[in-house]
């Protein structure tokens, strides 16, 4: 009995004080830490990949007239980094911030606004300009002077009508 009490006391004495002076001194994070996701608004092209994989579905794309908003609600983030994994533009990384507590819910939201491009046929805004530019670059291999295909500037509906017309033409001929 007494022996074990001695042993216990010794363990405590040997360990000494182990608590950190947090929050007066910040607690460093490990390399590769998954803290608050940081979205770089200058790189984001509004493709929505991050919104598709986010498990708590806290990233949403809202199209309003000639702008698309990428909205992030950090209050439900699970710091899984799936968004960062899939972002084709490396516009998201998980930073070192883990102190998100706040009394203002608005502090936990973030919005990226992207300008939409208008359809060259009907004039309706249909996709972010940056997304189209990036897609164009990908299609042409980013070669200088290479023109992006014409259909890239058509909205999905116009593309469909065009396609239907083209097909319709073929069919009509077949019937003759």
């Amino acid at each position: 009995m007494f022996i074990s009490k001695w042993k216990e006391a010794l363990i405590c004495l040997k360990a000494g004080r182990v608590t950190l002076p947090y929050p007066f001194v910040p607690r460093p994070t490990a390399e590769g830490f998954r803290g608050q996701p940081e979205v770089d608004g200058r790189r984001c092209i509004g493709c929505g990949e991050c919104a598709t994989v986010c498990p708590p579905r806290l990233i949403t794309l809202v199209d309003d007239g000639d702008s698309r908003a990428l909205k992030v609600d950090y209050s439900r983030c699970t710091y899984c980094a799936r968004c960062a994994d899939v972002c084709p533009e490396k516009a998201i990384r998980l930073g070192n911030n883990y102190e998100l507590a706040t009394s203002q819910k608005e502090d936990l939201t973030m919005t990226v606004n992207l300008k939409m491009a208008n359809c060259s046929l009907c004039g309706k805004p249909f996709a972010p300009e940056r997304l189209l530019r990036k897609t164009g670059e990908k299609l042409t291999g980013g070669e200088f002077g290479q023109e992006a295909p014409e259909w890239l500037s058509w909205c999905p509906e116009c593309r469909k009508t065009k396609q239907a017309k083209a097909l319709g033409g073929v069919e009509a001929k077949d019937h003759v």
């Binding site: 216990e8 363990i11 405590c12 498990p55 699970t78 710091y79 899984c80 980094a81 994994d85």
Partner: protein
């Protein structure tokens, strides 16, 4: 027992051919007639010695027009699972209860009734288990025609569905919020003087409808992260078990390196969990030195997992088909260094407290659970192994890298709180050794399967030995997402055995008895809604208890 032997025995017992049979991995799926269920289930459990894992209720009306209820059994030493599946006509959704034969089926059958609406006839405790008492009657949230975001109007409650205390007994409540329980749980202890003569339990306050969310809104990989958040302590177990269930269903070949990384993380998680438990157990009985020291030792593991995974908990490592982060070469010396420190420091603590008579007096002969009760309530993990039931899914149903590793399974026969402590203390050192072995043999190669496609209409069952015992995930695949995902956490069976452990104990020991099963209430509850009161385990009558007391406090289960 092999699959063929089992099929032969079932056919012989039934006296006629089994209607339909198929296999999925190491699971034998047998479709049976509803009227044959009690006899077959009883035969499998009592004569063939299988253990009931859980039941799964599925609404298959869009496809077959029926409901289905599967009773999942495990033949532990044979690495064989058996699913007895019954189809039920929605016009008459009634099934004969097997709880009178298998006490451990109690909650699982009530859950199927609450969520799917298949009523277990002659169930000894027909009260609600999962749904809140103010949830409307005849509204079953896991049915396919129930929208996941529907909020029904509150029903008027006739009164809380609590068990009446025996006459002369005083009711003492522990919970729904109680200092030593971090999660809501409501125990009502019936006491005479200082003795507990019966008990009642109401839980499922943390039920949040995740299974519904999974089969309506999420996709296969999103569920991995939701699964991880089922538990704040053994979250990796859940994400791993879920992935393994999908991988089993889809026959996805997980690369060896990913399997080893999963094993390493599983064992690191067990280490931190057991040290956390030891501290809490110390705290419950007022021995805070143990709390401080074991949590100090544990903290090193938390820093280590932060370095490996990017966070001290909720590692976010798993995806269907493998893991997302590698364990780089440069981290391995660090892991070994932390293991060495944790090992020597834990040894010192274990040696010191092993001779502490105050501690022994609080834990020995307290909260006794007989081997017979452990088996009939189908308990798992350290709680089972402390009552002489030698089961461990790492050895019995080897998964991840466990088939390649050598380890012992500590088993004690005393069945008391001290035995449950010893099992966990021994397991600390087994886990440290397992991480070392896995690191030593860590194979090279990719960490994610190439093809992770999941075909529809396949069933997959996976078990993972969580720190608290076997955790089970079942998946029936659908298009883009599971058609059904069922989670059975390890505390689910243990809580059903709690009344047996309370029997004839003093009130002062109740918190440590609850603590000794290392309960994880939110894990157990998952899913949907919040609750008022009701639900129970079983109440001992005075006579039963007196008899039990005379029989050396062995529970006295009249149903067993």
């Amino acid at each position: 027992m092999t699959r063929e032997e089992l099929t032969r025995k079932l056919t012989e017992h039934l006296g006629k051919a089994l209607p339909a049979m198929s296999t999925a991995g190491n699971m034998l799926l047998v479709k049976i007639k509803a009227e044959d269920l009690p006899t077959l289930a009883g035969y499998v459990f009592n004569q063939l010695g299988a253990r009931l894992i859980t039941t799964v209720g599925t609404d298959r009306t869009p496809l077959t027009g029926n409901y289905e209820v599967s009773y999942l059994f495990s033949f532990d030493r044979a690495d064989l699972f058996l699913s007895l599946k019954v189809e039920i006509d929605p016009a008459n959704p009634v099934i004969e209860s097997v709880t009178p034969v298998i006490p451990g089926a109690d909650w699982a059958e009530r859950e199927v009734r609450d969520l799917i609406g298949v009523v277990p006839k002659n169930h000894p405790d027909p009260r609600r288990l999962v749904l809140a008492d103010d949830w409307p009657e005849e509204l079953y949230p896991l049915r396919k025609d129930f929208p996941y975001d529907y909020k029904p109007p509150q029903a008027t409650v006739a009164g809380p569905r609590m068990k009446k205390a025996p006459e002369q007994a005083t009711v003492m409540t522990v919970g729904p919020f109680f200092p030593t329980l971090e999660e809501p749980a409501y125990f009502r202890l019936f006491v005479e003087g200082e003795r507990i003569v019966g008990s009642d339990y109401r839980g499922f306050y943390s039920h949040r409808g995740i299974e519904k969310l999974a089969d309506t809104v999420l996709d296969y990989n999103k569920i991995t992260f939701l699964a991880e958040r089922i538990c704040g302590i053994c979250g990796f177990v859940h994400s791993c078990c879920y992935c393994q269930a999908v991988e089993a269903a889809a026959e996805i070949e997980v690369p060896a390196r990913a399997k080893y990384i999963r094993t390493i993380m599983l064992e690191l998680e067990r280490l931190h969990s057991h040290l956390l438990w030891l501290g809490l157990a110390g705290h419950i009985i007022g021995f805070d030195t143990v709390l401080m020291q074991s949590w100090r030792i544990r903290e090193q593991l938390m820093w280590l997992t932060e370095q490996i995974t990017g966070n001290r908990k909720t590692y976010g490592m798993n995806l269907v088909g493998g893991v997302r982060r590698d364990i780089p070469e440069k981290l391995q010396p660090k892991i070994k260094e932390v293991l060495a420190k944790v090992e020597s420091e834990s040894r010192q603590v274990v040696e010191a407290i092993a001779g502490d008579t105050t501690l022994l007096m609080r834990l020995q002969n307290v909260g006794y659970l007989s081997a017979a009760d452990a088996r009939s309530f189908c308990v798992v993990g350290p709680t089972a192994r402390a009552s002489g039931v030698d089961i461990d899914s790492r050895r019995d149903h080897p998964y991840a890298a466990y088939p390649d590793l050598q380890f012992t399974v500590p088993v004690y026969n005393e069945g008391d709180t001290w035995a449950r402590t010893l099992v966990r203390l021994d397991e600390l050192f087994v886990s440290i050794d397992l991480v070392r072995q896995a690191l030593g043999r860590l194979p090279g190669g990719p960490i994610m399967a190439e093809n992770t496609e999941v075909p529809p209409e396949r069933e997959g069952l996976a078990v993972v030995e969580a720190p608290r015992g076997e955790c089970c995930h079942y998946v029936l695949t659908g298009t883009d997402r599971p058609e059904r995902w069922r989670v059975r956490a390890s505390t689910y069976p243990q809580l059903q055995a709690a009344p047996s452990m309370f029997a004839n104990q003093t009130v002062a020991d109740a918190p440590i008895i609850i603590g000794s099963i290392d309960p994880c209430f939110s894990c157990t509850e998952r899913m949907e809604t919040v609750d008022v009161e009701s639900g129970k385990l079983r109440v001992y009558t005075r006579e039963e208890l007196l008899k039990a007391g005379r029989a050396g406090c062995k529970g006295g289960d009249s149903r067993a």
